[in-house]
């Protein structure tokens, strides 16, 4: 009994592979209906399934493949022309075969899959030929299948030959059908069927990927299928479980290697060191080799997409050309399986929502035919997969309106988002951009699921869109799940691993530097990384632990998640190592902060931090705060805002000035020697532009020491213009909420308040800016309130960065 099961299993595996090939072959065939190579290949596939199904007594499967084979053999011999209708029928047949195979796989039998409709359809399609078959159909239907069996199928001939017990003498007559040149001339030009005009429209859709494939098939076919066998001989099927086990063992080996290498590093025995270096090398190579066994070209999942695009395009009356670049890019089989559905979903989305109907495209001055491009490539240890369309793109305004309508985001928050941020809203659960619910997509499940699935395998997804030009969805997927390069860090004397996929750089600050460089923005810490404000997240805070670093040093791992950067403050960085990802039990998954665990070189277990989850958990509240603060930009100059954060600066003469933080774009230091004079105003060259400076001490009549080497300046930008407000020293950032204000007024001030136990003057920012650049607001007569921005494009870039 076992023996038979094995045969059935192998049959199923082989057939499924063949069917995938068949789908793309059939669609490709539409483009070049007279390709004998392709027809032969399709014919062979069906024939093989038919032969084996007869042998295994799957009668209905045999029946379906039998009629299909009949039709194919007549197509191949040029007795029938391939019409879109016939392609449909053939695809239908393939589907029926698939259904039968699925049933066999699940129940061991053909179940109750109905084949009669399909058989009838195929038979009918053979009859209604517009290009009359040279001989009466019934006769033809019976003949070719019998013929073909002996004609081909070399190795398994025994099994197959027994199938059509009826194979009579007629066989010989059909046998020469293989000789391609003879029949090629006889194949009639593709006959358009008026009723199926749509399909004809699609016809030019796939040709791009044909030329690549054709030579292979041709080569294989050249020697009557022999090379194909040769390929089969040089490869063996290996149970994936076995590979998984090997992978696991190699993982263990890598760990042991790490332990040995670590230990040996402390030894002095040169022989031992040399041996450990060899071990190191060999283990790496072995790891790579085993990983390769699990690698498969992405084409494995892409091969299904031409059909998806074709069917969907047909259904939506769109003409779409599918282009594929980098189809040989390999990635781990498990990952491949995991990205299959998300990728299909993205492709469907692009076809459904991305690419416009032909009329719309023409109206927009684009070719009627839409282009959907799939790209895959390796990039710094990751696989990048892009699904790009040249469709209408996503209109951030519409998208934003939708998000507001669904209550996913407040109008205020939306107004402050950059277009790129708005786009990311489509990943929010329950978001669907389809105006109408179609049966293709737009049921409210979608991008969030895609995102979840991609993140589950340690990948990331981002979307870029250019309204009117197209949309690109970009997936970044790790090469393999099992072994990942990671940074190990220490926090509260425990070690944690951070996958390097999210790591951008490391910053280490000694106590002195940290005291200056790490600033507080209303309780949230930020670090000025090359001028950009980087929000800091303390790992100890997230994990509810107490840091054991008391020397004031700050070590920051700059991480990137979902397009935004943040700095994770850890106690210290240990090193980078290849870690083997181990699943953690359900109790720990539920915490949602760890993506797994690993065993480090010294044998201790370390948790792997889930950077995405970390970012979400740590930054959500923070960005909400920041958005809150940005909301008050409009009232920046006015002191009536209750919740305001103030930047405290001294301006000399013991005076302190508070500047609403919302008006501050960035803090800079400017060397005094770089300050130049233009007329009676001071300017400095800054990022390729001229930045006017107002010295606050002079502006407010509090002359401080003016012979300093470095000027502390507060840069304020709006509508592409910037000014710098020079102060003596930046002291602190305080929450102005509890401040007591008095009405004492003075030139350039709005009033004064008690901030941080001292009387502090509130700067009239507008006046100060005008002092530096009288033309600052004249280009934009309106006040620099964010509501006035049609798009958030005018928001200073550095705000969006953090």
């Amino acid at each position: 009994m076992d023996g038979l099961d094995d045969i059935v299993e192998e049959f199923l595996v082989e057939s499924h592979e063949n069917l995938d090939q068949l789908d793309s072959d059939l669609v490709a065939l539409e483009q070049e209906p007279d390709s004998r190579e392709r027809l032969s290949s399709i014919f062979r596939t069906i024939h093989t399934i038919k032969g084996t199904s007869g042998f295994l007594a799957f009668n209905r499967l045999e029946e379906v493949t039998h009629v299909g084979e009949n039709m194919l053999s007549r197509l191949r011999d040029g007795e029938l022309a391939l019409t879109p209708h016939r392609t449909n029928v053939l695809l239908q047949m393939v589907d029926t075969v698939r259904a039968l195979l699925t049933s066999i796989e699940a129940n061991g039998g053909e179940g109750d899959v109905d084949v009669s409709a399909c058989v009838a359809a195929v038979t009918a399609a053979m009859e209604d030929s517009p290009t009359a078959a040279p001989e009466p159909a019934p006769a033809a239907a019976a003949a070719p299948s019998k013929a073909a069996a002996p004609a081909k199928a070399p190795a398994k001939a025994a099994a197959k030959a027994k199938t059509p017990a009826k194979a009579p003498a007629k066989a010989a007559a059909k046998a020469p059908a293989k000789r391609a040149p003879r029949a090629r001339a006889a194949v009639p030009a593709p006959a358009p069927v008026p009723a199926d005009e749509l399909i004809e429209d699609v016809t030019p859709a796939v040709p791009e990927n044909l030329p690549e494939e054709a030579p292979e098939v041709a080569a294989a076919d050249g020697a009557t299928g022999q090379p194909r066998r040769a390929v089969a001989d040089s490869t063996i099927r290996v149970d994936v479980d076995l590979l998984d086990e090997l992978m696991l063992l190699v993982g263990e080996l890598v760990l042991t290697r790490n332990q040995i290498v670590q230990n040996v590093a402390r030894q002095t025995d040169t022989d031992l060191i040399r041996a450990s270096q060899r071990l190191n090398l060999i283990a790496s190579e072995l790891q790579e080799g085993v990983m390769k066994t699990r690698m498969q070209p992405i084409d494995h999942i892409w091969s299904k997409l031409p059909r998806v695009v074709r069917d969907l395009g047909l259904q939506l009356k769109k003409t779409i050309r599918l282009e594929m670049e980098g189809r040989e890019t390999e990635l781990d089989k498990t990952l491949l399986e995991a990205v299959k559905d998300p990728l299909t979903h993205l492709v469907r989305n692009s076809v459904d929502h991305g690419i416009e109907a032909p009329e719309l495209r023409k109206a927009a001055g684009k070719p009627a035919e839409g282009v959907l491009t799939l790209r895959a490539r390796h990039e710094s240890g990751q696989v990048v997969v892009e699904v790009a369309d040249d469709g209408a793109g996503i209109d951030p305004a519409k998208l934003g309106a939708k998000a507001v309508q669904r209550g996913l985001v407040t109008p205020d928050a939306l107004a402050r988002m950059s277009p790129a941020d708005v786009l990311q809203l489509i990943f929010l659960p329950g978001f669907s951009t389809a105006a109408a619910v179609t049966n293709v997509s737009g049921r409210g499940v979608g991008m969030d699921v895609v995102k979840t699935n991609i993140e589950a395998i340690g990948g990331t997804i981002e979307v870029e869109s250019d309204p009117g030009v197209g949309t690109v969805c970009r997936l970044r997927i790790p090469l393999t799940l099992a072994i990942v390069p990671a940074l190990t860090v220490e926090c509260a004397s425990d070690r944690y691993a951070i996958p390097q996929i999210s790591l951008q750089e490391l910053v280490s600050l000694d106590a002195e530097k940290a005291a200056n460089a790490v600033e507080e923005v209303g309780g949230a810490q930020v670090y000025r990384l090359r001028g950009e404000l980087l929000p800091l997240v303390r790992l100890t805070d997230v994990l509810g632990l107490t840091s054991e670093r008391h020397d004031g040093h700050v070590v920051i791992a700059v991480l990137r998640s979902e397009g935004r950067r943040f700095g994770l403050v850890v106690d210290r960085v240990i090193n980078t190592e290849e870690i083997v990802v181990k699943a953690v039990g359900g109790q720990l998954k539920a915490i949602g902060l760890y993506s797994g665990a690993t065993v480090l070189g010294d044998g201790t277990v370390a948790l792997i931090l889930d950077v995405q989850a970390l970012a979400r958990r740590a930054l959500r509240t923070e960005t909400a705060d920041r958005q809150e603060s940005r909301a008050s930009v409009s009232q920046a100059a006015a002191a009536e805002t209750e919740r305001q954060r103030m930047l405290l600066a001294s301006i000399g003469g013991g005076r302190r000035v508070a500047i609403p933080l919302d008006t501050v774009t960035r803090l800079e230091q400017v060397k005094t020697e770089t300050v130049e004079k233009v007329g009676n105003r001071e300017v400095v060259q800054y990022r390729g532009a001229i930045l006017p400076i107002v010295r606050l001490d002079r502006h407010l009549g509090a002359y401080g020491e003016s012979d300093r080497d470095v000027l502390e300046v507060i840069v304020y930008s709006d509508h592409g213009r910037s000014v710098a407000i020079a102060v003596e020293e930046i002291l602190d950032i305080v929450d102005g909420e509890a401040a007591i204000r008095s009405d004492i007024d003075d030139l350039g001030l709005l009033g004064s308040a008690v901030l941080g136990d001292r009387v502090t003057e509130l700067l009239d920012v507008r006046a100060a800016i005008l002092a530096a650049d009288p033309a600052f607001y004249s280009a934009h007569p309106t006040s620099p309130a964010p509501h006035d921005h049609a798009t958030p494009a005018g928001v200073p870039g550095s705000f969006l960065e953090v």
Partner: protein
């Protein structure tokens, strides 16, 4: 199903691996037990449920350790005493239980089985299938499945 039926249904004869915890004797089905280890180095898991004592490295495999005292609502193990680790395998996944000390493997008879005493309260009651009346003491049968789903 009446209470007695239920008790009968969950009363099984067979072997229990027994261990001590805060003075009481507990038992888990021998077939669940993979191995027993001496105290292991634990990696704590911040933010995990309190019963999760941490992770241990079991020959390269990462196994969650459940502090059974915490799980059963007993006081923490006194300072200076090391826990014993019982590795159990459930549905192919290994989980470990931290207990005070390991005792014998005991043959139990369904006839000696009784539902958990009514005085047993709180979370412990959910985790105890019942008690086997042994000579001189009670053996509490632990529901491993529930115990590890901290």
């Amino acid at each position: 199903m009446t209470a007695t039926d239920y008790a009968m249904a969950s009363a099984t004869s067979g072997q229990l691996a027994t261990f001590r915890l805060d003075g009481d004797l507990y038992g888990v089905e021998v077939e669940h037990v993979q191995e027993v280890l001496r105290s292991q180095q634990l990696t704590r898991v911040p933010l995990a449920p309190s019963a999760v004592a941490g992770l241990i490295n079991l020959r390269g495999q990462v196994v969650t350790a459940i502090e059974l005292r915490e799980r059963l609502g007993r006081p923490a193990r006194p300072e200076g005493t090391d826990a014993v680790v019982i590795v159990v395998r459930l549905d192919g996944e290994a989980v470990s239980l931290l207990v005070d000390s390991i005792a014998d493997v005991v043959d139990v008879d369904a006839a000696d089985f009784e539902a958990p005493p009514d005085t047993l309260e709180g979370q412990a009651r959910d985790l105890i299938r019942g008690a086997y009346k042994l000579d001189g003491q009670l053996l509490l049968a632990l529901d491993v499945q529930k115990a590890v789903s901290a």
